[in-house]
Amino acid sequence: MWKWLHPYANPEVSYHFSGKLLPWLSAFAALFLSIGLVWALAFAPADYQQGDSFRIFYIHVPAASLSMGIYFGMAIAAFTSLVWQFKLADASAAALAPVGATFTAIALITGAAWGEPMWGTWWIWDARLTSELILLFLYLGVISLHNAFEDKNLAGKAAGILTLVGVINLPIIKYSVEWWNTLHQGSTVSKLGAPSMSVDMLWPFLFCFLGFVLLISVIVCIRFRSEILARNSIRPWVRDLVAAHLNQEKTNAV
């Protein structure tokens, strides 16, 4: 059943396959993000109470939910790497971590910028904000573990264990607004039944969300490829690639 996946366990195959995906992902990311952001920031109707301040929603919500999504992806990679000792999974977890940390930081910063005028405070130690901050610390821990060891396999194992321990935080972030009294509001888009938003506000959100998903896949793809090269630098195929690249540069120079 999983036989078709086996060729991609080879770093060389994966490297070339992700190279072919990259231009398509970049083109669609640019398309969706430009449509989504222009629509959201310039044309979507303003909220009746918050006015234009509500537009930060279009960046805050995708960043926050994708910060959890990336972590979940990283956890799956860590799990496969620990159980099947599949080296490329470590490379992809290492590629995901800094992107996730960045999106977590974006969610926290845009949230604070919105909270100051709307709530009256930048920060409050409620369950949602605190658990999202813990997610940022988990990412930073995973990044530092990936870089703390000379031996990449050992580093992957240590970071993978921390990643799996931190998975517990994901349902806590997601349901914090339902389980406890928080200042943070409940979810608008991802709830059963109708989203609490009018349709002309929701469409630009969907474009932005898809745009951010594609943007993340572009960045992760690039990082994944450079991780593969760094981890396989002594292999002949990487040497051939570098030699071909140098030759190309030489002929270009002449």
Binding site: Q49, Q50, L82, M118, G120, I168, N181, Q185, G186, M197
Partner: protein, 173 residues
């Protein structure tokens, strides 16, 4: 799957399940401390599971909906008082709901409206007539998850004007 992988799968799986159980129990034990605020009902009748009531003089946070027609503002300064009732859906106010009034001296956040959810941080106090109220040092607005364009809000007959402050009120502080 070969036996070594199966063994690793069991070890990793049981570590994750074990930690999930530990985290679940810790959160369950802490659940009341994680709540950001008390509801008015919890102040008068105690928390639902434990019956713990805040004491007079204790610093607490209260969260609730601003009851319409209870906002009293001093025309000369920034002193304001209003009553809160429990946050619940759908929003209906009745006189029989437990209410706690909040006294505050300062500028309220932009989203402060009658019927809006707010969280106030302050001291639980008993007035000379025996009523409980909160002497607040901070008032935060809680936004709900609903977003609506102005035209729809107008069509639904919603009142969403911001509070305005006169020069007199602002200068006396």
């Amino acid at each position: 799957m070969n036996p070594r992988r199966k063994k690793r799968l069991t070890i990793v799986g049981s570590i994750v399940v074990g930690i999930a159980v530990v985290a679940g129990l810790v959160l369950y034990a802490l659940s009341q401390n994680i709540d950001l605020f008390y509801n008015p009902t919890e102040i008068t009748q105690g928390k639902k599971d434990s019956g713990i009531k805040p004491k007079i003089g204790q610093r607490i946070r209260i969260g609730g909906l601003v009851v319409p027609n209870t906002v009293k503002r001093d025309p000369d300064n920034l002193k304001v008082s209003f009553s809160l009732s429990d946050m619940k859906m759908p929003i209906v106010f009745s006189d029989s709901d437990p209410m706690i009034s909040v006294h505050y001296d300062g500028i309220l956040p932009d989203l402060f409206r009658e019927g809006q959810g707010i969280v106030a941080n302050g001291t639980l106090t008993r007035s000379s007539s025996g009523e409980l109220y909160i002497e607040a040092s901070e008032v935060l607005a809680k936004h709900d998850e609903n977003y609506m364009p102005t035209e729809l809000a107008d069509a639904a007959g919603k009142d969403y004007k911001k509070l305005e402050y006169s020069d007199k009120q602002l200068n006396n502080n």
